[in-house]
């Protein structure tokens, strides 16, 4: 996916004044929050399960290589070909090689965020093959030629009018704005592709070391189609997605759908192990898994390792007041919201996404809802520390922090400075006590007045009173 995270600030400016986006985010953005809160009432020991889920994920990460080797062995024993991709580009290369070797012309694809990292669709199209997104949201975006703006609701930024327009234009059908009818239209458009495709690509929510299986968690049924009907199935997923056992999967599944869409369970949980057997009447003849590193291993052993617990539910972005106001595209890469503010700089380089770790008030709403207890504010702070230490932040910012630090550590100087500032700003505030503009603080005063100090500092008044 084209990276624009380095221009986060200008992305934000555009998104804040995009009337359609703003309206759509206000209308639809809160629904996941309400649904999650409602469904969590079913779970009387939510905290116990979160703790257990975090421990499962930490246990895997601590011995990730052993788990990957075990997974590979068992997947191979069931006839799955396991590929390893060091970089995003390798993902595209491996996939195209598999496709070319089998004369593939048409590919149907269910949701895979990892494939967004590598821009797989463009690479496949450039290799003269047709690739069709089949998740309804992803399909809409493929028609619109846009990237997803949310990891589980990719087209959350679009309204029905926009979808109607796209369908009518691309399907050459009468424009209709009835949502069930639009869903039916997509089903009818996509069904022939499922039947005729030579290859199906899916993501993988989890890899099970115990059985060598890949698990996908879906609602629409397209995930089942692409893993059942075409003669080749390729699952693409990150190396961190292993779970030890089926029991661990059961624990995590009590949290994933609830945290994501507010469902107790998704319509489909499909566990796929190897190609079809000799007597099977359906299922793919070939089963492939591409295990993707692409920056993940770099986080191991660092404070940021905890970000690899992530099970991609999207609750952090749903609950993030920054995300709610700017939408996912502003973040400029595959993963928006708080988890994106941690993963994007980690995967694409801090200097390419310098503002993302700053794009949070550290309000903590994300951490409270994270099913695997990723301390997202703390991790954003870690990245801020790295930015500071590597002198990536603007000179003026580093300078002012330096001055402030020295003063704050010298109380007499600090008191004197505060006294002068309080007086000066008080005078500038006039009768109403409001500053409409302050040099260097236009970031504040562009949209808000700055209430002026009342004139004397507390310590000044306190000293006077004591004497």
């Amino acid at each position: 996916m084209l990276l624009t995270s380095f221009s986060f600030k200008s992305n934000v400016k555009k998104k804040l004044v995009d009337p359609v986006l703003q309206k759509n985010m206000k209308r639809f953005g809160g629904r996941f929050v309400i649904a999650r809160a409602e469904v969590m009432k079913e779970v009387d020991n939510l905290e116990d399960i979160r703790v257990a889920a975090a421990a499962i994920r930490d246990g895997i990460l601590a011995n990730l290589d052993s788990y990957l080797i075990t997974f590979e062995e068992r997947a191979q024993a069931r006839g799955t070909t396991v590929h390893w991709a060091e970089t995003a580009q390798d993902v595209n290369r491996i996939l195209i090689e598999i496709a070319k070797a089998n004369g593939v012309r048409k590919i149907v694809k269910s949701k895979s965020m990892v494939s967004e990292e590598s821009g797989l669709n463009d690479a496949v199209a450039a290799a003269d093959m047709q690739v069709i997104e089949t998740d309804l949201g992803e399909y809409i975006l493929q028609l619109a030629d846009e990237p997803p703006s949310h990891i589980i609701a990719p087209a959350i930024h679009k309204n029905v009018e926009e979808v109607a327009e796209l369908f009518s234009k691309h399907h050459h059908t009468p424009r209709q704005t009835n949502i069930p009818a639009l869903c039916r239209e997509a089903r009818e458009q996509l069904r022939p592709h499922f039947i005729s495709a030579d290859m199906g690509i899916s993501g993988g929510n989890f890899l099970i070391a115990e059985t060598g299986s890949v698990v996908i968690v879906t609602n629409e049924g397209n995930g089942r189609m692409v893993t059942t009907l075409p003669k080749i199935h390729v699952a693409i997923t990150g190396i961190e997605k292993v779970l030890p056992t089926l029991n661990d999967l059961s624990t995590i599944l009590r949290l994933l759908p609830r945290s994501a869409t507010g469902q107790s369970i998704t319509n489909y949980v499909s566990m796929l192990t190897g190609p079809k057997g000799a007597d099977d009447v359906d299922g793919p003849e070939q089963s492939h898994i591409i295990l993707v590193d692409s920056g993940r291993s770099r986080l191991l052993g660092t404070e940021l390792q905890r970000a690899l617990r992530c099970i991609r539910c999207g609750a952090c972005m749903n609950h993030c007041p920054v995300y709610q106001n700017i939408g996912g595209h502003a973040y400029g890469w595959v993963y928006p919201g708080p988890i994106g503010a941690v993963l994007t700089p980690s995967y694409v380089g801090l200097k390419n996404a310098l503002d993302l770790p700053q794009a949070s008030t550290l309000c903590g709403a994300c951490e409270v809802v994270c099913p695997v207890k990723i301390p997202l504010p703390e991790l954003m702070r870690v990245l801020r520390e790295q930015s500071f230490e590597q002198r990536l932040r603007p000179w003026s910012e580093r300078f002012s922090i330096g001055v402030w630090r020295t003063m704050a550590n010298h109380p007499r100087v600090y008191a004197r400075f505060a006294q002068v500032a309080a007086r000066l700003l008080h005078l500038m505030g006039g009768k109403k006590g409001l500053l409409h503009w302050l040099p260097g603080l236009d970031g504040w005063t562009d949209g808000r007045d700055m209430p002026a100090p009342t004139g004397k500092t507390f310590r000044e008044l306190y000293a006077k009173r004591k004497s």
Partner: protein
């Protein structure tokens, strides 16, 4: 009981009367209150900007200034959260220092926490005329679990009616330096908050953190709302007579 009052840098500079209100509330409850002179700031601005060193310097300063007290009270959830949850982390290689910090952190309270949970205040002898809506500041709410305490205390203020806004727990967009670095988003978040405040029909928006209050007040006034009062919870709890008596000048 000897209580050290940490005034906070924002109260010192911007709204000393919040400091005096806090002082008075504590004294009214029979505390012996001391305001150590060496205090400046808890270190959060630097810490959240990625400068750990400033966090460490100011954590040590805080320890030196406040270690001798039975309790430390702070009219801010955000500074209290910094001390309680982040100070010890700043010294991973110094367990002895961590131990001292943890011992002090455990005696460090946000104002409404202290009045409610430690002093068990039942009757404030204060009054307020009008409807109040309470904004739950993020650190207080999520790091310290402050939710019922201020509401219970406001409930003791004669004449004060609590009218909850729609999303009292949603961040107002302050976030320290965030409010300047990413001012566009901060202003939008403040705007959302102000709309919720206005829709609640409250005469005053009250909160426990001056940073949030300045952000909300700044947006309200820019929107042209000059009537909605913006008050720190200490000002409401101490009451109008005491406030008048604090005499900033």
């Amino acid at each position: 009981m000897r209580v050290g009052l940490f005034v906070t840098c924002l109260v010192d500079l911007m709204r000393p009367r919040i400091g005096f209100a806090t002082l008075k509330l504590l004294q009214n409850s029979g505390c012996e209150v001391v305001v150590p002179e060496g205090q400046t700031c808890c270190g959060q601005p630097g810490f959240n900007s990625g400068d750990r060193e400033s966090g460490r310097l100011l954590a040590q300063r805080f320890l030196k200034d406040f270690e001798s007290f039975d309790y430390v009270v702070i009219p801010s959830g955000s500074c209290t959260g910094m001390i309680r949850h982040h100070y010890a982390q700043l010294f991973p290689a110094d367990p002895a220092l961590q131990k001292r910090i943890n011992a002090l952190s455990a005696r460090t309270y946000e104002l409404t926490q202290f009045l409610h949970t430690v002093l068990h205040i039942q009757n404030l002898h204060s009054s307020f005329k009008g409807n109040i809506t309470y904004h739950d500041s993020c650190s207080g709410l999520r790091e310290l679990g402050i939710k019922l305490q201020p509401r219970q205390l406001i409930g003791q203020v004669a004449g004060a009616q609590l009218r909850e806004m729609e999303k009292p727990e949603t961040c107002c967009g302050f976030g320290g330096a965030f409010s300047i670095k990413l001012g566009d988003i901060a202003s939008r978040m403040a705007d959302n908050k102000c709309q919720d405040v206005q829709a609640s029909g409250a005469d005053a928006i009250v909160g426990g953190d001056l940073g949030c209050l300045l952000n909300i007040e700044g947006r309200l006034r820019r929107m042209g709302d000059e009537s909605t009062q913006v008050l720190h919870v200490a000002e409401v709890l101490v009451g109008p007579e005491a406030l008048a008596d604090l005499g900033e000048d």
